[in-house]
Symmetry: C2
Subunit: 333 residues, 2 copies
């Protein structure tokens, strides 16, 4: 057991899970937390409520396609959406380093305001702290969010043949953060996919029975989400290599860096496991939404002798997609 | 207008209010936020819900009488209590510096667990981030909280003669943080008053009509809370100098440091404005609770030519208690 906290404890992979289990779950035992969803869902009066939180430490705080404020609103709103809830109210806590430019703060807050308007949520409570220069790298933001779970969506048992859908290109957020952080001189259309998942709420509400699992693949990317899904079943996962939507520019820079886009964070995508018979219908519904037009089916659950995730190409080539065990890039969200 | 964010923007006084108004209220306009309570209160289905958040950046993270985890649970629970709500569920977001000792993290989380048990609340959702060494001073914690507002408590218009009550000695948290942070070699019973206000919930529920305002005097201390109360009325405040409960040890170190305990944070006290006719009854009820046994009436609202807060001693001496305009001590919570 590590004596100190390391960067890998924050990468969303195996070490993060271990730390959370050994320290947080061990002490804060309750059925809502131990359910390990992106949000906790509980009854309050006559309503089913979902509740979630995230802290944002992204570096750089302004990046192509967004900033830390956009991420903070989208991240929390999206965690509610993939829990089947309609987001309503947010809280926000700012911690700011002394000397931070007021103009930057205004820009961040204006972006948050615009995203709240788009998502139809209100920031109803907040807190602001300022710390001495040198004791924080610019700014961090926490958001929590409360939504009403009208859908009553619940995770369902996965069966062999159930399909895996993703609502758009993968790895775009994580890759853009890498390019922007290291000022890489690469041409190409890098842009974070950071966006609200609220447009998909209608599909979630309508197809809640057909959708067995949903998650937004942030830290650790699509591969990490799939490993989480796989842990709840007896089946392995077969990915259709050529079907995984990866922009050429994203593929190129990941090759250069030695990264695999499957492990790179998305901040505006949803991964869904859908009952095999309904997969095509849900696919078409998601594709009919502007931000879901690139939705594809990228794989399926399958009976295997050795339960694992592998990616297969049309020539029959297979590669194993293991669980993330070392940090690729800290501070991507 | 300042071009950069300074420490005084985080001290809870005049500059904090200005920053919040000019940036946050301006952009996040909604009636719940603009109500400026310690928590936002809204209807959700058939329940009245209160919702609040705070980030904690206290230094040192372990201090006499508590640690950052105790503060994080008490702070959020207390904001719900002074809003008239019974706390139910909390979220927590940890940001940890690489290299932080795992044992310290365990200690903090165990304290949070114990405080949750005492407060009868559950941490149902959370998030953990790790940042590179040097980009954060050890650890910061955000908590948000949701409670049901059974009391239906609402702020009421203050009248001349209404009494000001405090549930115990003032300035103990802020002073202890100063002593511990600067390793001052002072003998005396310094200890933070950090504690839950949940034992007072029964009084809040029973006397909600008599209680006109409530607040926990954290950043900026009792003086700052009284200035906030005064802004909502046409009356000034007369404090009874000798009645303000200040431990001799707390008084001594504040004198040494040139601080006034009236501006030093409490983390387990409640300031109440109570209808004059009911003040003695509420006083006795609060005194009958173990953690409220030192409750006293420390002043009253009064008609004045120049609206202000002054403190009067039994010899007739008066001193003005102005609004806090410069930071005494950053990172006290």
């Amino acid at each position: 057991m590590d004596e100190i906290i390391k960067l890998i404890h924050g990468d969303g992979g195996k070490h993060t899970s271990q730390l959370i289990e050994e320290i947080f779950y061990k002490n804060f035992q309750n059925k809502y937390l131990l359910d390990q969803g992106d949000a906790a869902t509980f009854q309050l009066g006559n309503e089913l409520i979902s509740y979630t939180t995230d802290s944002f430490v992204v570096k750089p705080i302004f990046f192509r396609g967004g900033n830390i404020g956009k991420l903070a609103v989208c991240g929390t709103v999206n965690d509610l959406v993939v829990s089947g809830a309609t987001p309503l109210y947010l809280s926000t806590g700012f911690i700011i380093e002394e000397g931070f430019e007021r103009k930057k703060l205004e820009k961040i807050v204006e972006t948050m305001r615009d995203m709240c308007t788009q998502a139809n949520v209100s920031i109803v409570t907040g807190d602001t702290k300022v710390v001495e220069k040198g004791s924080l790298d610019e700014i961090v933001i926490n958001t929590s969010g409360v939504g009403v779970n009208y859908s009553g969506y619940k995770k369902n048992k996965i069966d062999a043949g159930d399909k895996i859908l993703i609502t758009g290109g993968i790895g775009e957020h994580g890759t853009t953060i890498a390019v922007d952080r290291y000022h890489m001189k690469i041409s190409g259309d890098y842009q974070s996919d950071c966006a609200l998942l609220t447009p998909f709420l209608s599909v979630v509400n309508e197809y809640k029975e057909a959708i067995k699992c949903m998650r937004d693949p942030t830290r650790g990317g699509v591969a990490t989400v799939l490993h989480e899904f796989m842990k709840t079943t007896e089946y392995g996962i077969c990915l259709y290599e050529e079907e995984i939507p990866i922009k050429p520019s994203i593929r190129a820079v990941n090759k250069l860096l030695g990264f695999d886009p499957l492990y790179m964070a998305c901040e505006g995508r949803m991964v869904l496991v859908v009952k095999r018979e309904e997969a095509d219908k849900v696919l078409r519904m998601l594709q009919s939404i502007e931000s879901g037009k690139d939705t594809c089916i990228i794989g399926e659950f399958a009976q295997m002798e050795d339960k694992m995730i592998y990616s297969r190409n049309s020539f029959g080539g297979k590669r194993i997609i293991p669980e993330l065990v070392s940090s690729i890039l800290p501070r991507i969200c």
